[in-house]
């Protein structure tokens, strides 16, 4: 009898095991602005070999005719596979297209994962189309060249064999702008808070969604440029630092030499080098962040002391000579003004976090756990980074629900 019972139990266990069917799915890998079939290639191949992916769709969709046109092409490409079994994984502009499909044709995708998608638009698009990126470069060059031009015998500091000014113009800004390849209807569609984007803010769908957002380390623009050029980020940042150290050295040693009795000119030279030093240390990144909308500014009222109208040079230096500053100087009066304080917000170097996670829109996931931060990843690196792949693997394991699950081969 006992033998019979044991056998029955074993048979039942076997039946249960056979009932847990392996989950296989189709995956539609969708590139972003200016991308193509190779954009997701390495990650798509990795998971194709690892998981039960029946069909991996990777197309090349025109991104120059607007988000709507791209969405149409994406939908057409995966129409034969549409349904509960299809997961859409989209980078950047691809996520904007996928949202349109999900809202207008709910059920096309069984689950959606976006990476760095500008779901509230991208301010960098406004900056490129409005010429702000050109002003950014001109301002940077103007600041970086002041020191070298003020000091005979010192050439422009170089970064990986290229003048630092050329690096700024051609590798950072030029390289990024060229890769994005913005044109035609795509410009108004992807602009910050564009009418196209706003049309979807109130449209939620029941489709399970995961949103991955990049939070790149400082200096974001240098790291982003390195990724766009397929260079090692840390090597480029080290080279950027080496050039920055030189500006700092020239500023400091001129500052000290300026205190020597004969070397008044060194004081001026110190100021000129200081401009480039400050630019490389913080302004260059700060201005980049402002340009892509990854900082906000707050204005505060201030009061400060300044010379009374009519105060003479002699009055001013009388106070300085006698340590009479601010209100202690009889030739000063109080003025009012304002000061601005900039605060950074996280970004992948191209899209600020609020847009990557579709902040305050109905389409974003309700559960904050489904909004995943990719620390140290920029807009370019997130498609093939360890952090991004680990999140995908976790999703395929079913940690965010069965709709994302794809079992191992």
């Amino acid at each position: 009898m006992k033998t019979k019972q044991l056998l029955l139990t074993l048979l039942l266990l076997s039946a249960v095991s056979a009932g847990r069917a392996q989950i296989a799915r189709d995956v539609h890998w969708i590139h972003g602005l200016g991308g193509g079939t190779s954009s997701w290639e390495s990650t798509a191949n990795l998971f194709f070999n690892e998981r039960l992916i029946n069909t991996a769709i990777r197309g090349d969709y025109e991104t120059g005719q607007g988000a709507g046109e791209m969405a149409t092409r994406i939908r057409t490409a995966s129409l034969p596979n549409a349904g509960n079994n299809l997961i859409g994984i989209a980078h950047s502009m691809g996520g904007v297209g996928i949202r349109q499909i999900d809202v207008n044709n709910t059920g096309h995708f069984g689950a959606i994962i976006t990476f760095g998608s500008p779901l509230r638009g991208a301010r960098i698009v406004n900056a490129i189309s409005g010429g702000e990126t050109n002003s950014y470069v001109a301002n940077g060059i103007s600041k970086l060249e002041r020191g070298p031009l003020a000091q005979v015998g010192i050439i422009m500091p170089r970064l990986l064999g290229i003048n630092v000014t050329d690096w700024l113009a051609n590798e950072i800004v030029g390289g990024i702008v060229a890769k994005l390849s913005l044109r035609n209807q795509t410009i108004p569609d992807l602009s910050e808070e564009s009418g196209y984007n706003q049309a979807f803010y109130g449209s939620g769908t029941p489709t399970p969604k995961l949103m991955m957002w990049g939070d790149e380390d400082s200096p974001v623009h240098v790291r982003l440029a390195a990724s766009f050029k397929n260079m090692d980020e840390n090597n480029v940042v080290t080279a950027w630092d080496d050039a920055r150290y030189f500006y700092g050295f020239m500023e400091e040693q001129n500052r000290i030499q300026g205190y020597l009795p004969w070397n008044f000119i060194a004081r001026w030279q110190a100021n000129e080098w200081q401009v480039g030093h400050e630019y490389m240390f913080s302004q260059s990144e700060g201005q980049w962040r402002a340009m892509i909308g990854a900082s906000f500014v707050q204005t505060y009222p201030i009061t400060y002391w300044g010379p009374t109208p009519g105060a003479t040079e002699q009055d001013f230096w009388y106070c300085a000579d006698n340590n009479l500053f601010d209100g202690d100087c009889p030739y000063n009066q109080l003025y009012t003004g304002t000061t601005q304080i900039f605060t950074n917000t996280p970004t992948d170097g191209v899209v600020p976090v609020r847009s990557q996670i579709a902040e305050n829109t109905a389409w974003r996931p309700n559960d904050p756990n489904f909004i995943r931060r990719l620390g140290g990843d920029n807009h370019q690196s997130m498609r093939s980074s360890d952090a991004g792949r680990n999140e995908l693997r976790s999703a395929f394991e079913g940690n965010f629900g069965n709709q994302f699950r794809i079992d191992l081969r």
């Binding site: 940042v237 400091e252 001026w268």
Partner: protein, 225 residues
């Protein structure tokens, strides 16, 4: 946003005019404002024709060649000025090691203008044409005017102004303040306020910035005779 940096800085001018420089970052250093990435640089040394950058463990980060600096002609001018000055004060009586009289004499020898504002407050003015080679830059003046203020009674530098001599625009203004050292009783440099105004000819805008340098453990050794 204000940033606070503390450095130990040493500048040595040898008798033959060779200049060496070193700067070491001290803690605590405070960078206030938006997040900035960690700075590996701890020490900078310039000697001969090379500047070297080191991290906190003494590991060389990078090196770069720089033109060898030699200020022998200036040293000779200063020695001559020291001999020509009206009040031959020994250096140890000059607070902070400054030789104000020699500096004024140096300006006079270069054809500069000296004005007395009363109570020892003295203004010196002289102009210098910058060496050629910067014709491409809109922002580089061809000639600078240096205005310095001294108190000859106290033997102190009060401040300095630099102007673009062509446009008359102020480039920078520095004010020096002093404190009495508790142990030696000597007047020592305390704070130096520098306002600089950076005109960008391309945009037509002027950026103003303020720097406050606070001196601790200041020493100045003058071996010139």
């Amino acid at each position: 946003m204000p940033t606070v940096r503390r450095h130990r800085v040493e500048l040595v001018v040898a008798q033959d005019g060779a200049v060496s420089f070193s700067s070491e970052k001290l803690t605590p250093e405070q960078v206030i404002g938006p997040k900035q990435y960690p700075d590996k640089l701890t020490k900078t040394v310039m000697q001969g024709g090379m500047v070297s950058f080191y991290d906190v463990s003494g590991k060389l980060l990078s090196q770069q060649e720089v033109p060898v600096q030699n200020v022998k002609p200036y040293l000779d001018e200063l020695v001559a000025a020291k001999k020509a000055k009206k009040n031959p004060n020994p250096a140890q009586l000059m607070p902070g090691g400054q030789d104000v009289d020699a500096t004024i004499e140096l300006v006079r020898a270069k054809g500069g203008k000296i004005e007395d504002f009363g109570n020892g407050l003295t203004k010196t003015t002289w102009e210098q044409t910058l060496p050629p080679g910067r014709e491409t830059s809109l922002n580089t003046p061809k000639r600078l005017r240096f205005v310095n203020f001294y108190n000859t009674k106290k033997g102190l530098t009060v401040g300095a102004e630099t102007y673009n001599a062509e446009s008359g625009a102020m480039v920078s203004r520095t004010i020096h303040t002093y404190r009495t050292d508790k142990t030696s009783g000597q007047i020592m440099p305390n704070r130096v306020f520098t306002d600089s105004y950076l005109y960008d000819a391309k945009t037509g805008k002027t950026e103003a910035r303020t720097e406050v340098a606070t001196y601790r453990n200041y020493s100045f050794t003058d071996n010139l005779n």
